[in-house]
Symmetry: C2
Subunit: 188 residues, 2 copies
């Protein structure tokens, strides 16, 4: 018998993402985002949802582009710092000593220090209320050599991504392998 | 210097979710879904994206409702089984010995054996190409006593959710705590 805890923004794991944009003066900004995920395989698209109150919202509306940088757990304090500050009054890249690299396919910067990056072109904007969902077509995925294996496959334990717990506002590490999809259920 | 691996449906962690629906005969079905996430805080909404070819797609279109059951790692083989079968020719609840409980607020069933459940009413449908995104307003969240702590807070390690790696098609456990959000970055 389950207990009701009422409507909540709770789904786990939520991905801990860094959304990169340029402002109108070409200055790179980055914000944290856990309201997002994959939404389409063909075309390959992802979503990020932002409040209009954020600096990044206006940057995305103007450029119709953003990047997603996936940080490793070793960067968790820096990630939290990103979430504590606004690009309106803080140059977060400068404050953290991070490098903003211009994306190859879209007009947005990514965080060089993050091992995995998606370059996204906005193809649909959905107003939902407090948040606006920017559906981005993934124009390219880029990865550090340290998380690359053979034939474009990624080393997920080496990526060491961060999970966000929206219920408690807590960061968690990603964990150990459990098995191969479309495979381990065959024995049942 | 990052290496390009081209456009890919790759974002990590992706959540391993079970989407519950009733078919036109009132029979409960469940499918796996990793293309989803939170998209809005007010109203509280989540997304799941399904291919029109799935049995569940038509169930959602008809009922304008679905549930999301979040499985624990102990159920990973059963979860994989769900992804290997179609509700068209398999009663997955019966095959797995699972219990389909009717949601309280929407016309859809959830998996009683999963510790965390969201009841979702479709408020927007977005055709994206191969996938259709169903934006669902979260009408209620329900949790087993075993993952409840004080005051509606959830015990994330006890939930023991599954992360999906779309790049390699692999399941991973969720891992250890890293720190409190909007807090641990303050010391930088």
């Amino acid at each position: 018998m389950k207990q009701s805890i009422g409507p909540q923004t709770m789904l786990y794991p939520a991905p801990m993402l860094l959304v990169g944009t340029y402002d109108e003066n070409g200055r790179a900004n980055v914000m944290t985002c856990a309201w997002g995920g994959i939404c389409s395989s063909d075309p390959i698209c992802v979503t990020v949802s932002l409040r209009e109150a954020t600096y990044s919202y206006h940057n995305i509306v103007r450029a119709q582009a953003y990047t997603i940088s996936v940080p490793s757990a070793s960067l968790v304090k820096q990630v939290d710092f990103v979430g504590l500050k606004s690009g309106r009054d803080t140059d977060k890249f400068a404050a953290l000593g991070w490098t903003a690299t211009k994306a190859e396919h879209v007009d947005a910067p990514y965080v060089e220090e993050c091992p995995l990056v998606l370059e996204c072109k906005v193809v649909r904007t959905v107003e939902l209320g407090l948040h606006t969902m920017f559906i981005g077509q993934v124009m390219d995925v880029k990865a550090d050599a340290g998380i690359m294996r053979e034939k474009g496959h990624l080393d997920i334990p080496a990526l060491d991504a961060i999970c966000f717990d929206p219920n408690n506002g807590h960061y968690y590490a990603a964990g150990a392998p459990l098995g191969k999809a479309f495979s381990i259920g065959e024995e049942l």
